[in-house]
Structure formats: structure tokens, C-alpha cells
Amino acid sequence: MNHYLPLSHIPIGRKARVINLELEGFSRRRILDMGLVPGTEVEVLRRSPLGDPTAYLIRGTVIGLRKDEASHIIVQKQ
């Protein structure tokens, strides 16, 4: 099933593949510069105690993203 959903909805320990970024301008640029281009695999590692931000494993590097940012990254569960 090809189910697309925001990265912020992926549970801890699961992997997903980037489909699309619903962002424009510099915020889009910033996410792309982190290596989050369509097709990239992302693993959800852990959430901070207050639930935000969340740590993701992207291309071998751990990167923290806020819920607001992750909610604009559309992915497919793996």
C-alpha cells in the first residue's frame, strides 16, 4: 500500500523514504541541504523528553528536526 504521510507521524524505530517536501524558499533549501532529497531513507531514532525535537538518522548522520519542520516532509513508510 502506497501510503504517504508526514515524517512527524512515523513512530520511533521505523524507517521511511522521502517523497516530497511541502516547503518553499529558504526552509526548503535548508532541508534539502541536510540531504533530505526525495528518495532518501530516514530512520526515526528518538524523541526528546518534551516530545520535540526528534532525532533522525539521515545518510549516516543524526539530525534533529522540529515537529513543525518534519510535518512538511512527506514520506512513505517502509
Binding site: G25, G35, G60
Partner: protein, 269 residues
Amino acid sequence: MGEVCRSCAACQLSSTDSLRVQYNVNRGSEGDLIIALAGNPNVGKSTIFNALTGLRQHTGNWPGKTVTQAQGTYRHREQKFVLVDLPGTYSLLSNSVDEEVARDFICFGQPDATIIVVDATSLARNLNLVLQVLEITPKVVLSVNLMDEAKSKGIRVDLDALSQKLGVPVIGTTARSGAGLDELKEKVYQVALGYLETNPISVTYDPEVDEVVQKLLPKVKSLVQGIHLNPYWVAMRLMDGDESFLQRLTHYTSLGEVWPKGEAALCPR
């Protein structure tokens, strides 16, 4: 501000000099070559900087920014080089203070060559910055660092293929042990002095984008005359609506900044 010619040798000389003065780049003498050192964070950039310059370095802040600037010197084949360590960044386009400093120095500091250090164990992530720098300047040498770590992880990097694809020299280095640094210095020497012509890969954009850029190009070309900046790249930034870049461009191309009064007198016109 009177009319100043933008193409004579005297003006070119004074414009690059004053740009470097603004960045606190201290050349010991006229013939010293300025080399920028760029790269992502945590790729061993500082280890390369320390290995090349030894104790001949000093640190301060970039003018007007609380971002550390380190400068050092080294010699190769009787030629003195001033190495300027830029902040570690993933990009030159996202407008953080670090990225602005790195972008402005590569664009307006007019380095004689730029070394980009990349992590051999995560090339895909690192090549983003490489492509961005290659769009601005062709005078680039790539240092694929942490080759020892890559080897122990079972990663083999085809340096020749990478060099062919990118169109610039690519050197495998392990800065911790000093491996590859002599070859790196030699390539930087050749590129900075123009003995080695590079032929960097050019990024192709959508026809719709290209069409608009072509319309902008004539105006942009006359704007950046005398500064070694790729007009196509400048046009792209203007299309992005990159306010920060526009501000710096205005700053560095306005006659008053690039040609202070005393130096304008050098112009034979």
C-alpha cells in the same frame, strides 16, 4: 562618486586588494596567494588546516560577525600561501551566519584557489557543498579526507572517477597522519597559479529557469565585471530573492567600497 574604469589592470589590482583588506586577510607580501578552506562540519577541516600551517596561524573574528576566523601560512616550492579557514557548512545558500561568511569570502574575498574538504565516508552528503562552490569558482581542489576511516569501514572511493566527473583535481587525504598533504599542496599550487586549468561540471537547470536567467545575464555581467564571479550563479541568487546576497553584492560592487578614494587615483582614466 566619479566614473572609474572597471577593466584596467590598476583597478583590478586595487579592487581585489581592498576586498581582502575588508576580510582582515593579511598578506605578508604582494606575491602571497590566498587559499580558502571550505567543507562540511566534522570532516577534519581543522586538522588539515593545522597540518598545513603548523604553528604559523592566528585567530580572530570575521569582521562584524562573531564567527571565528583562523588564518595561517605555509610554503610550497618557495611560494607563500595564506590559508583562510572558513566556517564548516553544509551549504552556502541557507542564510545562516556561518554560511554567509563562507559564501561572502568565496565570492568577494577573491581567493586564488579554494580547497574543499569532504568526508570519504559520506560523500553523498558532502558533494552538495562541492557543487555549490563549483558554481561560483572553477579554482577548486577537492580533498577527500578520512580515507583511513573509509578504508576501515570497507568504503572504496574512486578518486580518478570523481575527478573526471567534477572536472577538478581530487586528492585522497588522511590529515591525522599527513597522508596526501604533499600532493594536495602541489595541486593547490598548480591551480592557484593557473598551471592547471580546471573544467568544473556545470549544473543544468530546467529550460524555464534557464530562459529567465538568460534574460538577466547581460545586466548581471556588467554588474560583476572586475570580480571573478560566475554571472549565471549571481543571476540565480537574484531570482531566488536572496536578500542577504543582494545586500553583499551591492556592498562589494558599489564603487565606494571596492575602490576607496586613494586607490581610485591609481586608475589612469
